[in-house]
Amino acid sequence: MSEFFNMGGYGYHVWGVILLALGIMLIEPINLKLQRKTLLQRIQRNKRIEKNRRK
């Protein structure tokens, strides 16, 4: 198993690239999810303000 991670002495290069790529591909959707959450909160807030104004 350690031989597999060693990658013939190029472990840092190979796994570094894999980690970087998968890391970016994990952060991007998380960021989008958070963005969406903020937007939905803003919409709910607008809705409340609108309701209070009508009263």
Binding site: M7, G16, V17, A21, I43
Partner: protein
């Protein structure tokens, strides 16, 4: 019932449709990428012609480089559709594509630099393909910067679409930059992108990972376009009823 494409050109109709297909794209992205990487790491020989195990960077590098190019073409396509038909959603798609494309171009450059370090002995060289790939990333950044510099979103859409259209010329240049017919006229350090002599298991791992990256791109682009729709239509009735 006839299926009308134009129906889904309206953000109000596209928003729920995109929401429905996003999980499907995520499922495909995760399955295909993990399968492709599994195949690439476990079912392939430890050498690729004169390259040792570090050649396995190929699975990420090729997939990301392809996405960098294709997403640029896709971004231009949406921008062009927007300019011709003046449809709001196409511009939003173009904008949503730009960030994922820039990230893919970035992954391609970094993975290429690491690969170059171990196989050519240098992180960077002003080889035609490398230089063009760098310019491609700058074009993405230029698109994003120009878009965010203009306050009026419709004007920003149009200006950025025109800019991306001008940059389109670079995609075929990148594509052909390594397949130089006469090596004396245009020498390049980058390997020829030829499938000849590549073991079929390596090819399979590469193609499936690339397909997984496609699905990933669709998933994130649709997620982003949904956010853009909400942001731009925040004052409309249908959004306030969500």
């Amino acid at each position: 019932m006839t299926f009308s494409w134009f129906k889904y050109a309206a953000p109000i109709n596209f928003y729920p449709l995109a929401g429905k297909v996003i999980p499907l794209f995520w499922f495909l992205a995760i399955t295909l990428t993990s399968f492709g990487l599994y195949w690439g790491f476990f079912q392939t020989p430890d050498v690729l012609s004169d390259q040792k195990q570090y050649y396995r960077i190929i699975f990420v590098h090729v997939a990301a480089s392809w996405m960098g190019m294709w997403l640029y073409a896709m971004m231009v396509f949406w921008g062009l559709v927007g300019l011709v038909f003046n449809t709001r959603l196409s511009f939003m798609m173009a904008k949503a594509t730009s960030t994922t494309g820039a990230l893919m171009a970035f992954i391609a450059l970094i993975s290429g630099a690491v690969w170059g370090k171990v196989s050519w002995g240098t992180w960077w060289d002003w080889d035609p393909r490398l230089t063009m790939s760098l310019i491609l990333m700058f074009l993405y950044i230029g698109y994003i910067a120009l878009h965010s510099a203009i306050d009026n979103s419709r004007r920003a859409d149009k200006a950025a679409a025109v800019l991306s259209l001008v940059g389109l010329a670079i995609v075929p240049v990148i594509y052909y930059s390594v397949n130089c017919p006469n090596p004396n006229e245009c020498s390049s350090l980058h390997q020829e992108s030829s499938f000849k002599g590549v073991e079929s298991n390596i090819l399979l791992g590469m193609l499936i990972t690339a397909l997984g990256f496609w699905m990933y791109s669709f998933a994130t682009i649709l997620m982003r376009v949904r956010n853009i729709i909400l942001e731009r239509e925040i004052n409309t009735k249908w959004v306030s009823e969500l």
